[in-house]
Symmetry: C3
Subunit: 343 residues, 3 copies
């Protein structure tokens, strides 16, 4: 583990493109952490206004703050793009590992596979026939890459990822441990006098800069392509059914389940444990609250909540009323000749 | 990849047992896909009447349709068992891989394990003591098979499946990547003045022709057997607790959770994200809607919906009323001397 | 498989600290199982009063019962700590495997890793730089242990567990197959004119005697530590977000999802499929019913149910009223000039 040298307050100001104030204090920091955890040897940051009081109490040596912050203490650095500033410090103190270019001797790689220069392959990885892997990709230990897969430049598979055959993964994609991409869709039909499995002969395409969480499963299409759009981020333990078309720049939180053939637009947010029925179409920019169940098509730029989901504002009112049902019931019951009070 | 030769319209008619119409067009197709995706070099099919309009617009060279379909265009083939016909074409164009009979030299196989002839074992698979594997089985790369397991004829384990010790898997079973069968049930009891883990000393039996999805977990029984009945299909990311008795021919959709010791009949359908409480008994042919929670025994051939589940018809009415609660509340509030309108 | 010799009724009385009654029958048992499954060669037990009728019908040779049980048949042994007694017999007939101390020659172990004597490492395990593993630990086949991890005395990792770098696991912890510990938290922020991944540079600490289920995912902290308190038991397919602080002695049932930065007290019970919103604080001893959604802080020693959760007693009343909504609606509709009966 190479530890990067500490940074001075002035150096940080320079990295952030902020003027170094006169009489700048001589402060050195060796890492970045939260306001609570920080010692005088750490940088920290105020990501939202509500954290400003914590900043006043923090022992952090350097604090990145948004412009016009009224924080008056040594070590403050005003940064317009606050998360951009945090990223800059994170990248300095915790550089993202890049490919070592080493192929571990225990990796089992088919002769017909084509690995570009600069690809790293971990111990015991198994790479199938005609697989193509572009430069800078990292294939973790124990990954199983099926025949005819393609993996783009700079993509990283953590240990123990499975790609079934014919899965195409774009550039700078991150796939976490235990994820399974390209398993069979869940499709059985009455045929030949019994329930028969319908072979799933499509594939999966993962576009550039997607991230896929630990133990997530994405099924291959029945005939065509299950597609995850560029820049979409999928959390852990998510289920994506066959033929799903998931748009660009979506956020899909942990344990969401997306039914087969659902079409989901760009910039959609599905909160944790949401379920989307098969064949549903969801418009761009839709936001769905946690644990909701989507059973019908949703127009673009709308918010939904509940199982089954209704517009989020209506659901908030239903929830408020629902909580008061017992007391209303007491008054209402007698009016209806009902034993309401005992309900 | 061996590509099967194209099929003529007449050949397909013959395969389907349909008469070749006079003046049959000379059409050749090289694959099968959906009506939308098909080019003139593809076969396609009308699985449900509602897709008939798409068939009229499809460019597919050959289209399988149900009898008495009014579709009037070249290349139509009437097939009584439509999915049977689709299967026939899928099997022709995409033959299911069978065992190569090769044992990869890196597989670690206990001396006491007995593998029949014609078993395929992938790279880095680990097979424990006294395991028996029948002919035609395929054990994918990186599978871990515990001591005393049995795997039936023609069963396929995709890469990275774990069977704990003592798991018995029937014939023609398919288990997808990441599935874990035979892990300990979740059982802790107050003993010896603290909360103690109760060792789980039972096993798991998977009957013939079961399919188990990616990253699904099935726990071993406390003392006896967790059983998955013949022909039951389990989707991805499903949890099956210890001692569960799951009947024959059930469909268990993704992310369902079945609590310990639940007894589920034959032909039961549990839609996505359903939860079943431990110790519940569910009768044959019960159907449970997505995201429902089953807290009580359910009689055979009934439909349920919601959390907690009530009969599906009643739930439909509750949902309809619930949506209107805010407007009703506005009228009702004043009658009850309640500030209803602000609820 | 070494089979322990059978036990006599008198020997079991002695193991339980119970006096051997005069004229004790000569009974030998070779295992322990449920009342229904037991033959005369098995011991069994009455764990709860409601199972007493089953005990009368059971063929079990020996039955452990609580004090003052009125069960009158041969082979009864009164035991004050009933589960303690069951554990004693389980430990006799099914001794928990301990480390063989063997390092499989195929394991890939970094030179800088430090393994104490008596550590078992299975085939194809991969152990990173500077990892420390204490005596008696068992690292299953195909486990991937990242750099700088620590694993305590007597801890067992079943096959196919992933620890990302920097994960610290305590003593006598059990982690089941497919679990992923230390994956990146789900954190993206607007920065540099687009949505950027915020690198997750914290770690995970798993305290002593925790159990973690199959295919569960626990994310590393953004900056600090995701912590699972001592003695906490986590079931299969659970999601634990970044920065979560989970207390001591909690029970987290299958498919629960815990949002990032949630703080959960000691002795909390989260039933199956519960969702906890990010940043929520839950007090000690809270119990949350299955499928509930926790959106706000919860005070200690309270019970909650529903999505969104309300106090469990109130929810029970809401559920009871909700079921009757259709009939109430019929009466209420006309009063409000609503077409209620058709709702």
């Amino acid at each position: 583990m190479h530890t990067p040298p500490p940074l001075s307050y002035s150096a940080i100001c320079a990295m952030m493109g902020s003027p170094v104030p006169e009489g700048a204090p001589h402060i050195m920091v060796a890492g970045i952490t939260t306001l609570e955890e920080a010692s005088e040897h750490h940088a920290s940051f105020v990501a939202r206004a509500k954290f400003a009081p914590k900043a006043a109490e923090s022992r952090a040596g350097v604090i990145l703050v948004p412009p016009h912050s009224k924080l008056d203490r040594p070590g403050v650095v005003e940064v317009k793009d606050i998360w951009g500033g945090v990223l800059t410090l994170l990248e300095y103190f915790h550089p993202v590992p890049t490919s070592t270019g080493r192929i571990h001797p225990t990796a089992v790689i088919a002769e017909s596979a084509q690995l570009a220069g600069g690809v790293e392959v971990g111990p015991y990885a198994v790479i199938g026939e005609r697989v193509r892997i572009e430069t800078g990709a990292i294939i973790g230990a124990h990954c199983c890459i099926g025949d005819d897969c393609a993996i783009g430049e700079g993509t990283r598979l953590y240990p123990r990822v499975t790609l079934y055959h014919g899965v195409a993964v774009g550039k700078r994609v991150i796939i976490h441990s235990g994820a399974v991409i390209g398993s069979d869709g869940f499709k059985y039909e009455a045929a030949r006098m019994k329930l028969c499995k319908i072979p799933q002969v499509g594939n999966v395409v993962i576009d550039d800069e997607v991230e896929i969480g630990a133990n997530t499963a994405i099924d291959r299409a029945s005939f065509t392509t299950t597609r995850i759009g560029a820049g979409t981020k999928i959390d852990n333990l998510v289920q994506v059914g066959h033929n799903v078309q998931l748009g660009r720049g979506c956020l899909v939180v942990a344990q969401v389940g997306i039914g087969g053939s659902a079409k989901i637009g760009n910039g959609v947010i599905l909160a944790g444990q949401v379920g989307v029925k098969d064949n549903v179409t969801i418009g761009d920019g839709v936001r769905v609250g946690a644990q909701s169940g989507i059973t019908d098509d949703l127009p673009a730029r709308t918010d939904w909540l509940g199982s089954p989901a209704i517009p989020a504002k209506d659901r908030a009112r239903v929830i408020a009323i629902e909580k008061r049902l017992p007391e209303v019931w007491k008054k209402l019951g007698p009016m209806l000749d009902e034993p309401g009070g005992k309900g």
